[in-house]
């Protein structure tokens, strides 16, 4: 399958999810799953970690998956995928199957940043040939919006609420993309559902490389981030345009690790005036409302801005565009 595609062509590709997915109205996760599956080109097995996507697609007696699918537990999607990959490899070696299918993990930030991190790191270190897609809605959404290692600083969650003394989660969002890239795996990328062709291209690349690939997708959640369901794509777009969640990819060329910005992030790197202040992104989400009401907490907003700027600068340097 060729890497380039048009929206119309993508729209006409058959969906590998059945309709009737029981995610919330406007859910980023089911959209991301749908888009990822638009990129497959051969038999594919999907492994889900426990979470919104897994539950909403598999409430007995129903399933939304047209591809072979397994859910094991919360923290072991990567280990389960490793076993699946090894098994197909062994069976292909013995001539029991013609070709191993592609293996894609779909896990949330819960099953990836925190409880699932060990299994992920181990699977990456061992170099299994699979694609890990992280749909990052920045909290343990399925159990009720509790904070995770992926929750950004000062965001409200049910276990890091904003009150008189503490203003949401006090710790920074773990820089998971960079941590995964430091495992020196063949391909790492970030993506957004607001840039669907970029996401699909990256999924294809991830599937085509030999060895582990990781795609970190920002997944806005109307319920947990507190915004109207119709704004899911707009919120994702703002995450990218404010450089809160820049789009990049990282691969190896001649023994060198190369970072490249993609889509709107690339444009912003070339034309810095296009970078929007982060408060445009914060202001549309109820989980940051305590930064604006009853009064503006300028200092906290400024802290977020300088964190975004520092991460952006670091990324620019890595991409050789500083």
């Amino acid at each position: 399958m060729s890497i380039s595609a048009t929206l119309r062509e993508v729209a006409r590709r058959p969906d590998m999810l059945y309709q009737g997915v029981r995610t919330c109205s406007g859910c980023g996760a089911s959209l991301i799953a749908k888009l990822v599956l638009k990129a497959i080109g051969k038999p594919t097995v999907v492994v889900s970690a426990t979470g919104c996507l897994e539950v909403a697609t598999s409430i007995l007696p129903f399933t939304s998956w047209k591809v072979p699918w397994i859910h094991n537990a919360f923290e072991n999607a990567a280990a389960t995928a490793a076993g699946i990959e090894a098994a197909y490899k062994a069976m292909a070696k013995k001539g029991l199957i013609k070709e191993a299918p592609d293996v894609i993990v779909m896990a949330g930030d819960g099953g990836t940043y925190d409880i699932g991190f060990q299994a992920l790191s181990g699977a990456l270190e061992r170099g299994h040939d699979f694609l890990y897609v992280l749909y990052d809605n920045e909290a343990y959404m399925n159990t009720g919006i509790q904070r995770s290692g992926g929750t950004p600083r000062f965001a409200w969650t049910t276990t890091s609420p904003a009150g008189e003394i503490l203003k949401g989660k006090l710790e920074a969002k773990k820089p998971l993309g960079f941590i995964v890239a430091e495992h020196r795996i063949p391909y790492v990328a970030t993506a957004s559902p607001s840039e669907p062709l970029d996401l699909i291209r990256k999924v294809r690349k991830g599937l085509e490389v030999e060895g582990p690939a990781f795609i970190h997708v920002i997944c806005p959640c109307p319920r947990g981030w507190r915004f109207d369901p119709s704004l899911t794509i707009k919120v994702a777009r703002l995450a990218v345009r404010t450089c809160f969640f820049p789009l990049w990819e990282c691969h190896w060329e001649d023994g060198e690790q190369i970072y490249q910005l993609t889509g709107p992030s690339r444009l912003i790197a070339e034309v810095p005036e296009l970078k929007l202040p982060v408060e445009y992104y914060l202001a549309v989400q109820g989980r940051f409302s305590h930064l604006f009401r009853p009064k503006r907490l300028d200092q906290l907003i400024a802290e977020i801005q300088s964190e975004v700027d520092a991460n952006w600068k670091l990324l620019l340097r890595r991409a050789g565009m500083a």
């Binding site: 007696p61 094991n72 389960t80 490793a82 076993g83 090894a86 098994a87 062994a90 299918p101 299994a119």
Partner: protein
């Protein structure tokens, strides 16, 4: 028939080596394992087989036992054969996945080198690790010696994969006592093992497409299934009942496979191992290697005029109630040896199952002896004492089940 028994080689192997050798001959598709004393030799030896090209197995050196069993679940779900081994803390770490493996009806085989659970940390033999998993839906077979560990590791695949079973199997061998003790054992030729285990045959299920599909993640995606689904209170219970049905079927299958193996090797196995019980007045009942010691104790007691026998239970799960009652018919006193405790329970784990097996049906007077925790040694004399104590209890009469401790200071 001696003529049907295949010619075998005599080799000197420890329990761990014997298990590794058996796995080499079975050649599963995937072995995903994490080292823990006293299982380490299994993993090390098997890695050598992989490195030398003697097996085509994919060896996944996972980063924890939890991932080891998780990887085995993934592998078995593709329709492949998957093996792992662990002990003690490793089994404890896998606990969550044990239930998933059995509920997903995956015929994984796992060797457990029985070792005490922390704290204090202790690397020596007792059965607390396996006992902690006795409700998990895994078949648990306890081996007496290295020969049996070898033989059972081979039989395990046929038991697990039987169409009426489809459950994972734990092959238990005592830490250090069996795992690290050299024994001369008979091993089958490679071909005979391959013929005995055959290829894994998949059962069929009707999935969401309304079509019969082999129970696996189809590599060609033509008969997709969704495994590991979410059930509400309207469906969960029925799946558990299915598992219990499979456990009951395993009672028959374990005997069938043991018989077939006996015809091949000359060594017959079943749910239990009855020693000199035909006319016994007192029986020592237990699991694992110390029942070998108990057989010596029974012989000595016999020389002293006490009609003693031993009932070694091989299949702890499923618990062979009927076979146990049959074997102990006519026995008036039983010393039930527990190498584990169930804190706060009315007795040791084996004793609780024994008492239930006889509830409302009369049966012998039973005395529970907790012994050997953390590798505390048990001698022939200790076991003779236990048998004598059980006889005394039967003769004098006791209320309920006395629970005593063997070899405890203080």
């Amino acid at each position: 028939m001696a003529s049907a028994v295949v010619e075998q080689k005599r080799v000197g192997m420890t329990g761990d080596e014997a298990v590794a050798y058996a796995i080499k001959q079975v050649e599963p598709d995937v072995v995903a394992a994490y080292p823990i004393t006293p299982q380490t030799i299994i993993v090390e030896r098997f890695s050598e087989y992989v490195a030398s090209g003697e097996v085509r197995t994919e060896f996944v050196a996972v980063e924890s036992e939890h991932s080891a069993l998780s990887a085995c679940v993934g592998a078995a779900a593709t329709g492949a054969r998957a093996f792992t081994a662990t002990a003690s803390q490793g089994l404890a770490l896998m606990w969550e996945i044990l239930y998933i493996a059995s509920s997903l009806r995956l015929p994984i085989v796992m060797a457990i080198v029985n070792r005490a659970l922390s704290a204090p940390i202790n690397i020596h033999c007792d059965h607390s690790d396996a006992m902690g998993a006795r409700d998990s839906g895994w078949i648990q077979l306890f081996c007496e010696n290295c020969q049996e560990a070898y033989d059972t590791t081979i039989q395990a695949w046929r038991i697990a994969e039987h169409p009426s079973v489809q459950l994972p199997v734990m092959v238990c061998l005592d830490g250090f006592v069996v795992s690290h003790t050299l024994e001369d054992i008979s091993v089958l030729p490679d071909r005979a093992v391959k013929e005995f285990v055959g290829e894994r045959e998949l059962v069929s299920v009707v999935g969401h497409e309304g079509l019969e599909a082999p129970y696996r993640l189809d590599p060609e995606g033509r008969r997709p299934l969704s495994m590991g689904t979410f059930a509400m209170y309207d469906l969960y219970f029925e799946y558990k009942r299915q598992q219990e049905e499979a456990m009951e079927a395993a009672l028959t299958v374990i005997e069938e496979v043991g018989r077939e193996y006996g015809e091949l090797s000359g060594r017959y196995y079943g749910l239990i191992d009855a020693y000199r019980l035909e006319d016994a007045e007192v029986a020592i009942v237990g699991l694992g290697s110390s029942m070998g010691t108990a057989k010596d104790a029974a012989d000595e007691l016999r020389n002293e005029g006490v009609r003693a026998g031993v009932l070694r239970i091989r299949s702890f799960r499923p618990f062979p109630s009927e076979a146990v009652r049959e074997a102990l018919r006519g026995v008036k006193a039983v010393a039930v040896m527990d190498r584990a405790m169930s804190f706060g329970g009315p007795a040791g784990p084996l004793m609780m199952d024994m008492a239930t097996a006889f509830y409302g049906r009369g049966g012998p007077v039973m005395t529970n002896y907790i012994y050997g925790l953390g590798g505390r040694d048990i001698s022939v004399e200790d076991l003779k004492e236990a048998a004598r104590g059980a006889l005394k209890a039967a003769e004098e009469g006791v209320e309920g089940v006395p629970v005593k401790f063997v070899g405890l200071r203080g």
